[in-house]
Symmetry: C2
Subunit: 281 residues, 2 copies
């Protein structure tokens, strides 16, 4: 397992903080430099042990980095990678943890100065709770991390990042950015939208009647509106397609109930159960 010298993490929220914690608990890096805008988050990241050093100065933070991981909200990743690539050592590898990849990879792939390279990552882990105080060293254990190489990607960069995520306990999958975004629109962005639309539909007089099912079905809606607004707009085309597929399935369900079509309704609910059972618990 490669041992890193300095790893710089830009954005020490749940994901960035958890990467730092995991790196330190597994002794995979000498120094973890946490870079953020707010001293208060950086202090928490240091206190929970997610980072060894902190700074609000991005250029200073990446100055000695062997690896830079950008964990800021999706809409800021491109800008932060560019800023980091301008200030880090020559030939540094940079990655991210964004939930939409195509726009980010298109903007950065093969376009960084001074021999720096960007290769997109997406660890499929998270929670509706954000911030470094929610960070967990085992957040990535047994979870999938997707790498999205292109024809510009060097094999050794892919291998390094594969080893990096495996070192944090992840199972690494390789997908094209397009493939990733199409799939995540369905598995992550659509459930978020469904949860949000459900939460909007439930009005206050009903809250006291909420059972465990409603709590589960709407849990994602507690996520940060700012983060999610950016993800949904960055993956707009796929997100709209996923919403339309979902809408089509809801219409089929509506028709079966309206028509009192027991056979069709049962077939729908049975397919749903089969898929859900296959997802595991």
């Amino acid at each position: 397992m490669k041992h890193w010298g300095d790893v710089a993490i830009i954005g020490v929220g749940l994901i960035g903080g958890s990467i730092g914690l995991a790196l330190r608990q597994r002794a995979l890096a000498d120094n973890v430099i946490g870079i953020g805008r707010r001293q208060v988050s950086l202090r928490i990241a240091r206190r929970v042990g997610a980072v060894t050093h902190t700074t609000v100065d991005l250029a200073k933070g990446v100055a000695r980095a062997e690896l830079v991981i950008v964990c800021t909200p999706a809409g800021q990743i491109v800008e932060h990678v560019r800023q980091a690539a301008a200030a880090c050592p020559e030939g540094t590898l940079l990655t991210d943890a964004g939930s939409a990849k195509q726009a980010i990879v298109e903007a950065l792939d093969g376009q960084l100065p001074r021999g720096c390279r960007f290769l997109g990552s997406h660890p499929i882990a998270g929670s509706e709770k954000g911030g470094p105080s929610s960070a967990q060293a085992n957040l990535f254990e047994g979870r999938v991390a997707v790498l999205t190489p292109t024809r510009n990607t060097r094999a050794e960069d892919f291998d390094l990042l594969e080893e990096f995520w495996q070192g944090l306990g992840s199972v690494v999958l390789q997908m094209s950015p397009e493939e990733h975004d199409r799939a995540l629109a369905v598995t992550s962005h659509l459930p978020h939208m469904a949860a949000a639309a459900l939460a909007v539909t439930v009005s206050e007089p009903c809250f006291r009647l909420a059972g465990g099912g409603l709590l589960d079905a709407t849990r994602l809606a507690a996520g940060d509106p700012n983060l999610w607004q950016q993800i949904l707009l960055m993956n707009r085309g796929n997100v709209l397609t996923a919403l339309e597929q979902f809408g089509g399935n809801l219409s089929a369900l509506h028709a079966a109930i309206r028509d009192g079509n027991e056979a069709e309704l049962k077939r729908f609910l049975t397919t749903a159960k089969k898929n859900r059972d296959a997802l595991g618990s």
Copy 2:
């Protein structure tokens, strides 16, 4: 707290089994008679301690009952209450645990023979896992149980059932059957449909990319298709209205994303978060 002699439970699945377990662990009844169609379920119910006696003969099971609780699937409740009312002691109180109330109450209210009375109950507790082996004595603790009296309901029957559910740890709410069904269409039946439609939309190649959010958002879809088909059709009018409201909210979300309307998208996600946060965890 009233102590019961014989309580008969028709249908010893998750709900019926949990009622029996709670009655026995809290020593609220001398005998709990479990009535079912399948010996195998009845054996499990006896083994887990949910019932003291079992029978597949409904008439025999209710012959000495002071209270009859029908916990069979929604579509069978009316028939089972009628059968029980024909065989139990004169003047017995009967209730149920069905998730849709209006059709059931309309069919039974003030219409039972021999001085027997039906008063509808709905304990808002459950799980996607059914069967007596999933029964829990604390399933109702701190959860809402709705009673749906009508102008035919005797005050002493309401008081008895209020005390019954409170004895199991529930918080009792009073609603009309219509009010109950309108609210539950939104808080329970709609989340079930959303989860099912999500699970239908996610196809197999995506399963390996499932994160915790997708698992939560689709959890309800693992429920029994037979039970849910009956509930959705029994509450058809309200269920269709709830689906249409949900569809309207999804359309608003679709339009905001399609138009790249950041302000509107953020407003939507913020309302969703506010509602979800108010629901608790």
